[in-house]
C-alpha cells in the first residue's frame, strides 16, 4: 500500500507540473494549446535518449527542458498569429505528428519499442528506498516550479501576460510587444511540461510513443479546468482531483462485477469526458477560481 501510494503520488506530482505548464499558457496568458503532451514527450525523449547514449544526467535533464521550451517557442512563432480556434487545431495536430515521428523514426527514437533502461539518478544511493527518494525529488521540483511560477505571476511580466489574456489590443496600445510576450509565455509553459516529461521518463526508466496519445492532453486540460485556470493552486488541486477520479474509478471493478478490462477503461474515460463537459457548462472557473486583482 505504501509502495502504491508512493508511485501514485509521484505521478500526481509529474501531472501537476504538466498542469502548471499549461496554466502559464492558458490560465495566465490565454493561449490555446491542445498539444500539451507534445512538450512533455519532447522533454522525456530528449533526456532519455541522451542519458541512454551516455550523457550525464546533469546535462541530459536541462537539455530535455531546453528542447521542450525551444519546440514551444518554434510552434508559437509559427502558430500564435492564428485565431484561437485555428490554434486549437494546429496544436492538436502538432502533438499527433510528433507522436507519429516518435513512432516512425526508429533510427533516432527506437520507434514502437520505446527507449528502455533509462538511467535513474542516484539509484545506487538509496537501496530499497528509491521510490521514496524519487517522490521527494518530484515534490521538490514541483515546489520549486510552483514558487517560481507564483513569482512570475506577480511580477510585471506576469501582469503583462494577464493583460494580454484579458485584452491584447489594450496591452498592445499600452506599448507592450504582445507577440514577444506570448512566445515567451508559450515557451515557458512548454519548458515546464518538458521538465515534467524528464522526471516521468527517468522515473519509469522506459518511454514509448503511445504514452503520449492526444487524450493525455485532454487530461491536462481537465486537471486545469477542474482546479481553476489562472491560479497555480488550482492547477495543483485539479491534478489531485483528477487522480482521485481515475484511481477511484479503478476500484469500481471490485464493486461492480461485470465491469472489467475494456469496459472499465471505457467507463473511466466516459467519466472523464462527462466531468469535463459538466465543468465547462456549470463551473468554467473551476473549484478554486482565480481571485480578481490577486497579486
Amino acid at each position: 500500500m505504501i509502495a502504491y501510494l508512493t508511485a501514485i503520488l509521484t505521478l500526481v506530482g509529474v501531472r501537476a507540473l504538466l498542469t502548471l505548464g499549461l496554466n502559464v499558457q492558458w490560465g495566465l496568458t490565454g493561449l490555446v494549446n491542445l498539444g500539451a503532451i507534445a512538450f512533455f514527450a519532447v522533454g522525456a525523449y530528449t533526456s532519455a535518449l541522451l542519458a541512454v547514449g551516455g550523457v550525464s544526467l546533469l546535462l541530459a535533464w536541462p537539455a530535455g527542458v531546453a528542447l521542450a521550451a525551444a519546440a514551444g517557442a518554434a510552434l508559437a512563432i509559427v502558430a500564435l498569429r492564428l485565431r484561437e480556434d485555428y490554434l486549437a487545431i494546429v496544436t492538436l495536430g502538432f502533438a499527433e505528428v510528433l507522436r507519429l515521428f516518435l513512432l516512425n523514426e526508429a533510427w533516432l527514437t527506437r520507434g514502437a519499442n520505446g527507449v528502455t533502461a533509462i538511467p535513474r539518478p542516484l539509484h545506487a544511493w538509496f537501496p530499497g528506498q528509491y521510490h521514496l527518494f524519487y517522490l521527494i525529488l518530484v515534490l521538490a521540483a514541483l515546489g520549486l516550479v510552483y514558487a517560481a511560477l507564483e513569482r512570475v505571476r506577480r511580477s510585471p511580466f506576469g501582469r503583462v501576460l494577464r493583460a494580454i489574456r484579458e485584452d491584447e489590443v489594450v496591452a498592445a496600445v499600452a506599448g507592450k510587444p504582445v507577440f514577444r510576450f506570448k512566445v515567451q509565455a508559450f515557451a515557458l509553459g512548454a519548458g515546464v511540461a518538458g521538465l515534467a516529461g524528464v522526471l516521468f521518463a527517468h522515473y519509469l526508466a522506459y518511454v514509448e510513443p503511445n504514452m503520449f496519445l492526444p487524450q493525455e492532453s485532454l487530461y491536462v486540460w481537465l486537471a486545469l479546468i477542474l482546479g481553476g485556470s489562472g491560479n497555480n493552486r488550482g492547477a495543483l488541486l485539479g491534478s489531485l482531483v483528477l487522480l482521485g477520479l481515475l484511481e477511484g474509478s479503478r476500484f469500481a471493478k471490485d464493486v461492480i462485477p461485470f465491469l472489467t478490462g475494456v469496459r472499465l477503461a471505457a467507463a473511466q474515460q466516459i467519466l472523464v469526458g462527462v466531468v469535463l463537459v459538466v465543468m465547462m457548462i456549470r463551473r468554467p472557473e473551476g473549484l478554486l477560481p482565480e481571485t480578481p486583482g490577486s497579486k
Binding site: 490555446v32 492564428l82 499527433e96 516512425n104 486540460w221 462527462v274
Partner: protein, 286 residues
C-alpha cells in the same frame, strides 16, 4: 506496384468519404462559430448504429445506412441540446473544449458496448472490377455516387430553400437575422441534425471501405480539419473540393512518405493553408 492512377482513384474515394463530415464540420463551424471536434466521432456513431441494424438486427445494409443517418442525426441533436446549447454565448474555445469532451464520451460509449475489436458489415463479397488497369470496387462506386448526390442535395438546400437561406443568414449575422424573425434555434437544430446525419452516413462508408472500430472517426479528424480549412469555412462546394484534394494528396503522398505519416500530410496542409491563405479556396468568409 499499382500505377499512380490507382492511388488517385483511391484518393477520390477517400475524399468522397471525407466530404460528408467536412461539409458538416465546416457549416456547423460557420453557423455556431466553434470547431466541433465531435463531428468526426459521429462517423463512429453512424458506423456502429448501422452495424447494430445490419449484423445485429439482420437489416440489409441500405436500410441500416438510412437508420444510421437518423440515429446519428438524433445523437448530434441530443448532444447539442445537452452540451452546446447552455454554452451558446461563450467564447469559441470553451465550446471546442466541451466538444472534445463529448467526442471522448461518445467514442467510449461505443467502446463500452462493442469493445475494441475490428468489425465488418454482413455484406456479400463482390469482386473488384478491372477497368483500364484500375481496380474499382463496387462499393467504392456506390460510395462516390451517393456522396456526390448528397453534396448536391446539401448545396441545393442551402441555396434554394427558405430554411437554407435562413441558415446562411444566421451564419452571416446571427443578431440581424434573429431580429428579422429567423427562428435561430430551429435553424441550428436542423443544421445539427443534418450535419450529424451526413457524418453518420459517411461512417458507414468508412466502415465498408476500411473497417469498423471505435477509433475510426477520431482517426480522420485531422483530415477533416484539413479539408474544411482548405475548402474555406462555411462553403459546401469548397468543403467538397477540399475533401477530394486532401484525399488524393494523402493517398498519393504515401508513394513518397510511409503510409503511417498520412495524418502528418493533413497537418502540413492545415499549416500551409492557414499561413498562406487562411480563408481557404472558397475565399471570402473566415
Amino acid at each position: 506496384m499499382p500505377p499512380i492512377a490507382q492511388y488517385v482513384f483511391n484518393g477520390i474515394v477517400t475524399g468522397g468519404i471525407l466530404a460528408l463530415p467536412t461539409v458538416a464540420f465546416s457549416l456547423l463551424w460557420w453557423l455556431l462559430r466553434f470547431p466541433n471536434f465531435a463531428v468526426s466521432t459521429y462517423l463512429t456513431v453512424g458506423a456502429y448504429a448501422a452495424l447494430a441494424l445490419n449484423a445485429g438486427a439482420r437489416a440489409p445494409l441500405e436500410a441500416a445506412w438510412l437508420g444510421a443517418l437518423l440515429a446519428t442525426g438524433g445523437v448530434a441533436l441530443a448532444v447539442d441540446r445537452i452540451a452546446f446549447r447552455p454554452m451558446r454565448d461563450r467564447r469559441p474555445f470553451s465550446l471546442a473544449i466541451a466538444s472534445i469532451g463529448v467526442a471522448f464520451v461518445l467514442e467510449n460509449v461505443v467502446r463500452f458496448v462493442w469493445g475494441n475489436d475490428f468489425r465488418a458489415y454482413d455484406v456479400p463479397v463482390t469482386r473488384a472490377a478491372s477497368v483500364a488497369g484500375l481496380r474499382i470496387g463496387h462499393e467504392q462506386l456506390l460510395i462516390l455516387g451517393v456522396t456526390v448526390a448528397l453534396m448536391a442535395l446539401a448545396q441545393a438546400f442551402l441555396l434554394h430553400t427558405r430554411l437554407g437561406v435562413a441558415m446562411r443568414a444566421t451564419a452571416d449575422n446571427p443578431l440581424l437575422s434573429a431580429v428579422k424573425g429567423v427562428p435561430t434555434n430551429h435553424v441550428i437544430a436542423v443544421a445539427t441534425f443534418g450535419g450529424g446525419a451526413l457524418a453518420g452516413g459517411a461512417g458507414v462508408f468508412l466502415g465498408l471501405d476500411a473497417s469498423i472500430d471505435p477509433l475510426m472517426g477520431g482517426g480522420i479528424i485531422i483530415s477533416v480539419f484539413a479539408a474544411a480549412i482548405l475548402g474555406g469555412i462555411g462553403s459546401a462546394p469548397g468543403a467538397f473540393a477540399g475533401a477530394l484534394i486532401v484525399g488524393i494528396v494523402e493517398e498519393t503522398g504515401t508513394l513518397i512518405v510511409p503510409p503511417t505519416y498520412k495524418t502528418a500530410i493533413g497537418f502540413v496542409i492545415i499549416l500551409a493553408v492557414l499561413l498562406v491563405r487562411p480563408s481557404g479556396l472558397a475565399g471570402s468568409r473566415s
